[in-house]
Amino acid sequence: MTSAAEPVLVVRDVVKTYGGVHALNSVSMSLVPGEVHCLVGENGSGKSTLIKVISGVEKPDSGTIEIEGRVHQHLTPNDAIRSGIQVIYQDFSLFPNLTAAENIAMLSELAEGRAVSSRKRIHAAAERVVSELGLRLDLGADVGTLSVADRQLIAICRALVSDAKVLIMDEPTTALTHTEVQRLFVIVRRLQRRGVAIMFVSHKLDEVLQISQRVTVIRNGRLVESGESSGYTRRAIAKAMTGRDVSEERLVSDLPGATPVLLSVENLSRSGGFSDVTFSLRAGEILGITGLLGSGRSEIAEAIFGIHPADSGTITVSGKERSIRSIKDAVHAGIGYVPEDRLTQGLFLDTSIAENMVASSLDSYRTRWGLLDRRRVRRSIADLFKRLRIQAPNVGAVVRSLSGGNAQRVVLAKWLDRKPSILVLNGPTVGVDIGSKEEIITILREQAAAGMGIIVISDDIPELVTSCHRILIVHDGRIVAELAGDEIDADEIQQRMAA
């Protein structure tokens, strides 16, 4: 049905280079009204550059953008906005210090070239969009005080306040929980019925297949495939994105029968967080903990690492009961913790691999005199470099020059250099593309095989299914299910999480 309509946006042979490197190499695509078109690709494949070119933020070296039949060679952000192209950026680009109403409707005041701004008019315009979409939002509240999901809704409202014809959503679901994503999709379908052409950028392939009619894959700045979503599977898209077969099967080797118990948690409770949490972790095991946002999954990890200590219950590490009242206690007990987002951030891009690796553990390299033991530092760096198989000429290479996957290895090296016997990772692959995700999981498997106990807290269910020996499901602060072996199944987990 959609293919019959005239495309509202046509991108023709767009080339964009940065210092001789092709970010986009002759990319052409089109969007028709009322379709959801997914753009997928790994980090650095050129997705963001393409969005910037379409929204006029970056000028292409050659090629044209055609909006409703009008060809633009030099599109400015204002041209794009005036022609009905709206982008919802990953960070939403909202103003935290202004009210929801102003965030939504300020744009139209600007677009109309007004000099005088009226609160009444702004409020009315915002109210109109919000009610059209059937939402309930506190329009008078400062955006900085609202939840992530609400901010996203505000970003959508803002995009729609001035009759958007093309809506580009750049990884809109990264910060949302499963239920929030489903609500977002309800809105996306509503927009679709209104004839808005939607370009949906994501690397969560389940979502891509669920929401879109067409899929376009780009890799290394080239468009590699494009077609009807119904003709694709997760696996086929992943292959097109990475250029190789990405395994998403359960690849969990059995634990050798009698590995020692590294961590045992009994009746751990913290008021307002979780209660009666009991589980154990064996050497070589990868344990997944999942649950909805606010279920208490992060709080359990934070209690084990002493960030917000538990009120009652015991934590036993390697057979010895430990009182963990602070982060220092936890580190002392051999527990390491990688907080959320730290695998995608937390690198000094312009310094070397070596310096990054030891950045957070320099304290442990003190000699008797309090000076840095350079020889020991060099030894650990060389060891980690080899163990994690980082592909770079040498440890002196600048992190910025590394590929995404290798940069992530450096981050992991940084955390591993603290030599924990138990490593807790909170959302290790949030915002990480599929190829790098696989690499992180591979490294975790290797560390586990070498005898480390690993706890992964995540709501990325396919990822847990591929990598975990056991999965605990948290609901309302209690562990409601423990799945192991063949019981581990994505649908099963999904149902139990929501139950």
């Binding site: 202004l98 744009l107 803002r158």
Partner: protein, 339 residues
């Protein structure tokens, strides 16, 4: 209850400031009978006029996410240059023209600040530290370093110097220039509240990149902003000259801290995006109250500087606490969407 308190506190702690000012007034009245008189009140108003004008400029810069330390240099540069120009050519235009000439000079200096900051996206503190020194140098080297006394000022200017709106028995008076000062404050208030330009300044201060993305012309807005700030500083400089009946290329310089402290106390965020004219007025009044009357409490005047420093820290701490409060507010996770 807490809601009522929240409303009284105001969006930028304005209510809190009123309370502090009231406490200071009560304490000073109790400790010195000389304090609670119309004379003291009018002296406070008089000493607040120049700081208020300069503070309004600082407020605009702070809201946009910057910090400006060049405004005292701009103020005295514009005022002194204008007076020198008029004296050298033996001109004696109406006071309005004097203000206009100075404001054009101030706007040009602001233009320089704005172009450097907006075009090259440099940190505002460093840029204005640099331009402050440049302006001072040019003023002393090329325009003049001599003190110009009342006899050297154009007679229209000295006439305004003696224009009182209201005289009270006991020596106090309300100066005529309070009218244009209040008018300027109202204009800035209206601009921030009701113009797209004003709201754009808040937006830029909230998130510059987001502002660029929604189509606000950030460079152009910033350049205009710094021109307005320069013109405001010049206005303040001329008021200073008129009130003091002299033009000295060294005056006003060094008042940065007091002014910035007053604006921050008034609730403007040093991180940009927040601030109000009413808060700024209250902040200026509080700083002047302390500066003028600490002596009445028996505290040596040498402690004035320290007192202003303490006020600045208090203002910043109040902001940090406010930010923490906003963070700890529970977020409503569930929002229903009907299919």
């Amino acid at each position: 209850m807490s809601q009522v308190l929240g409303r009284l506190r105001g969006p930028n702690n304005e209510g809190l400031l009123v309370a502090v000012i009231l406490v200071v007034v009560v304490v000073m009245s109790l400790s010195s009978p000389a304090f609670f008189t119309p004379g003291t009140f009018f002296a406070l108003v008089r000493s607040s006029m120049v700081p208020l004008i300069l503070a309004l400029g600082v407020l605009l810069v702070l809201i946009s996410g910057g910090i400006d330390v060049s405004f005292p240099a701009v103020a005295i540069f514009a005022a002194y240059t204008t007076i020198t120009l008029l004296r050298d050519r033996s001109l004696d235009p109406s006071p309005v023209v004097v203000f206009l000439i100075a404001m054009v000079i101030g706007a040009l200096l602001g233009l320089f600040n704005g172009v450097v900051i907006a075009r090259f996206r440099l940190p505002t503190l460093i840029v204005t530290l640099g331009t402050q020194t440049i302006f001072k140098g040019i003023l002393i080297a090329y325009i003049g370093s001599a003190y110009i006394s009342a006899s050297g000022l154009p007679s229209s200017v000295t006439q305004v110097s003696g224009a009182h709106l209201l005289d009270v028995s006991g020596g106090g008076y309300l100066h005529l220039l309070i009218i244009p000062v209040i008018a300027v404050a109202l204009v800035v208030w209206a601009m921030l509240r009701w113009t797209v330009f004003g709201r754009s300044i808040y937006a830029i201060g909230g998130d510059t990149e987001a502002a660029r993305r929604v189509g606000i012309r950030v460079v152009r807005t910033q350049v205009w902003l710094y021109m307005i700030v320069g013109a405001l500083a010049a206005f303040g400089g001329v008021v200073y000259v008129i009130l003091g009946r002299n033009a000295n290329p060294q005056s006003i310089l060094g008042t940065e801290l007091d002014i910035i402290a007053a604006v921050v106390l008034g609730g403007a965020s040093i991180f940009g995006g927040r601030g109000s004219v009413i808060g700024t007025v209250l902040g200026v009044v509080l700083v002047q109250l302390i500066n003028n009357n600490l002596v009445l409490l028996g505290i040596p005047s040498t402690w004035q500087r320290a007192a202003v420093g303490v006020l600045l820290l208090l203002g910043v701490s109040a902001q940090a606490l406010g930010a923490a409060r906003a963070r700890s507010r529970p977020v409503v996770v569930q929002k229903e969407v009907e299919a």
